[in-house]
């Protein structure tokens, strides 16, 4: 089996995975840690000996704010302002991504902040031209 570093594009593979609801990363054969999203190289120890892995999508939302409106990128004009969160994946990596299930208002974000860390689940948010990673608050 070829390693992900020998595939044509880890980036393409990641977004194609997202379109199917699959969250692709890598796990390092040397240090055992996960890299997400995938780069073909372990982001922790620098080893090239990594293999593809599908992540669970289970995560904890640590903090949440919102983006600026109008959005910095035209892709997100339609949904700005959106909630953007600081998230710890079950497998370990820290990611920041769009958060679904809470409004981008000071009152709603303050209530969420006062709850403390909350469980979230990864899902795919289909924008006009690209599927992107998002996390939905559970419950």
């Amino acid at each position: 089996m070829p390693t992900i570093a020998e595939n044509p594009s880890a980036i393409r593979s990641y977004y194609e995975g997202l379109s199917k609801g699959v969250f692709r990363g890598t796990v390092c054969k040397d240090c055992g840690r996960h890299s997400f999203p995938p780069t073909g190289c372990c982001e922790h120890c620098g080893s090239w000996d990594v293999e593809p892995v599908e992540l669970s999508g289970d995560a904890t939302l640590l903090l949440a704010t919102h983006n600026i409106a109008p959005a910095c990128h035209p892709r997100f004009e339609k949904i700005a302002p959106y909630v953007y969160g600081h998230i710890r994946l079950k497998e370990g990596p820290i990611v920041q991504a769009i958060v679904l299930g809470v409004k981008a208002t000071p009152a709603d974000l303050k209530a969420l902040y006062e709850r403390g860390p909350v469980p979230v689940k990864a899902e795919t948010l289909q924008m006009d031209d690209l599927p992107v990673l998002a996390f939905r608050i559970k419950g």
């Binding site: 980036i11 990641y14 999203p37 780069t39 982001e43 640590l62 903090l63 949440a64 704010t65 919102h66 983006n67 600026i68 109008p70 959005a71 910095c72 990128h73 035209p74 892709r75 997100f76 959106y82 953007y84 969160g85 600081h86 710890r88 820290i94 990611v95 920041q96 991504a97 769009i98 981008a104 000071p106 974000l109 303050k110 902040y113 690209l130 992107v132 990673l133």
Partner: protein, 426 residues
């Protein structure tokens, strides 16, 4: 890593343009980018008592080539700066550009390659070339500025999936700080107000600053008796990434800066008082810039440690500090990381006015990224410019009472290269 300079390098000349808008600011209106840069370079060379022909090499910094449209900057600017027939390179480290250039210059001098190096940075974040005109410019939209600027941020996964500087650099850091230290959101807001007041006060005393108006004066002009009511007004100061507001952020600017770095013995008896570049530290990271705790940035810690080690200083030695403050809360976190401010007490220091030029922990006396303004690749040089003025006792009304002997300047080059330089009096 040996982390040593084997020969003393000094800053013997500094220069800086007015920061503002090439279409609107009176001192800049109508200038081309060539002339804007030449102003900063001329000031630095004059300050050092040199001409462009006296330097051995030119390190020309520019980050957002999309708006400046002068790649190959060393040669395109050579006849505007008198530096034909020199060694040169166009380089960028985004918003750390000019101070990374200072570090590269010090390395080249300490290695025995060059005696004197001219470093300059230029940037236009408010205006861009109009059509194909060699001299006309036009405004850049907010979205276009960030599309171009964010090209320095993770283009594989970050930006395509909704990365937003205001969230990552401001809102999330603010919330992490408040949660970690048990600070109420109300106290956070009040602290940000006081910090902005301090930066605007400094800008009001600096004829080169982008914004030269005190916050309370702006509030009064808008009809507010209490400037804190102005601060909390959604119309004038909306949340850009709750709980962070617009006036806790960078303001964009067109501008240029320059410095002359030379061997210490060559600067003796020179025109202006030289300042030693005692040490530097440079360290970078891709997103995410922090782990679970948004107040702890590992690459900054490493850059600080390296710079302090090379310079042989400790936190208690710092007399003047600038930390990169595109985001005021991030700048406070970095100041705490240097040891200049006590962890968790930085915002209290801001509220108490201790960060003012006349306080006991003076910071960013030029006005910082908010009041002085931010021209990406030129800005680090303005931070150094201010530190050199302060160390010479030339900062005018904003002069720190006890002339600084050790200054530390930290910058964040997008996204992210933490850069720390340590300046010392000879």
């Amino acid at each position: 890593m040996r982390n040593k300079l084997h020969e003393k390098a000094v800053i013997s000349g500094v220069g800086c343009s007015r920061f503002g808008d090439l279409l609107e600011t009176p001192e800049l209106k109508g200038l081309t980018i060539q002339e804007l840069t030449a102003r900063a370079v001329k000031e630095a060379l004059d300050d050092a008592g040199l001409t462009g022909q006296d330097v051995d090499a030119v390190f020309a910094g520019n980050a957002m080539v999309h708006s400046s449209q002068v790649p190959g900057t060393y040669s395109q600017l050579s006849k505007w700066t008198g530096t034909q027939f020199k060694a040169g390179v166009h380089f960028e480290a985004q918003c750390s550009t000019t101070n990374v250039g200072a570090a590269l210059a010090a390395m080249s001098i300490a290695a025995g390659v060059y005696d004197t190096v001219l470093v300059y940075g230029l940037e236009t974040t408010r205006t861009k070339v109009k059509g194909f005109s060699p001299y006309e410019r036009e405004p850049i939209s907010h979205q276009q500025t960030w599309l171009w600027t964010d090209m320095a941020v993770n283009q594989a996964y970050g930006v395509p999936q909704g990365y937003d500087i205001f969230s990552t650099y401001n809102g999330l850091v603010a919330l992490g700080y408040c949660r970690k230290y048990g600070l109420s959101l109300e106290d956070y807001d009040r602290s940000m107000f006081e910090l902005c007041r301090t930066r605007r006060l400094h800008g009001a005393m600096n004829p080169k600053a982008n914004i030269q108006e005190k916050l309370e004066d702006r509030a009064a002009k808008e009809g507010f008796a209490d400037p804190y009511d102005y601060w909390r007004s959604d119309k004038h100061n909306p949340f850009v990434a709750w709980p962070s507001r617009l006036l806790s952020l960078v303001t964009t600017a067109d501008g240029a800066s320059a410095m002359v770095i030379t061997r210490a013995n060559l600067a003796k008896g020179g025109k202006s008082q030289p300042v030693q570049l005692k040490g530097f530290g440079i360290n970078y990271s891709d997103l995410p810039w922090y782990g679970e705790d948004p107040t702890v940035w590992e690459f900054d810690r490493r850059a600080i440690d390296a710079a302090f080690d090379m310079a042989g200083i400790e936190a208690d030695d710092i007399d003047y500090l600038h930390t990169h403050d595109c985001s005021h809360i991030s700048g406070i976190c970095t100041a705490e990381a240097t040891g200049y401010l006590e962890p968790g007490k930085g915002l209290a220091a801001a509220r108490e006015g201790r960060l003012r030029f006349d306080g006991d922990r003076p910071m960013s006396t030029h006005g910082g990224r908010h009041a002085f303004g931010h021209a990406w690749g030129a800005s680090a040089g303005t931070d150094t410019y201010e530190a050199v003025l302060q160390m010479r006792g030339q900062a005018g009304p904003r002069q720190i009472k006890k002339t600084p002997e050790i200054s530390v300047i930290h910058t964040h080059g997008y996204a992210m290269i933490g850069t720390v330089i340590v300046l010392g009096s000879l």
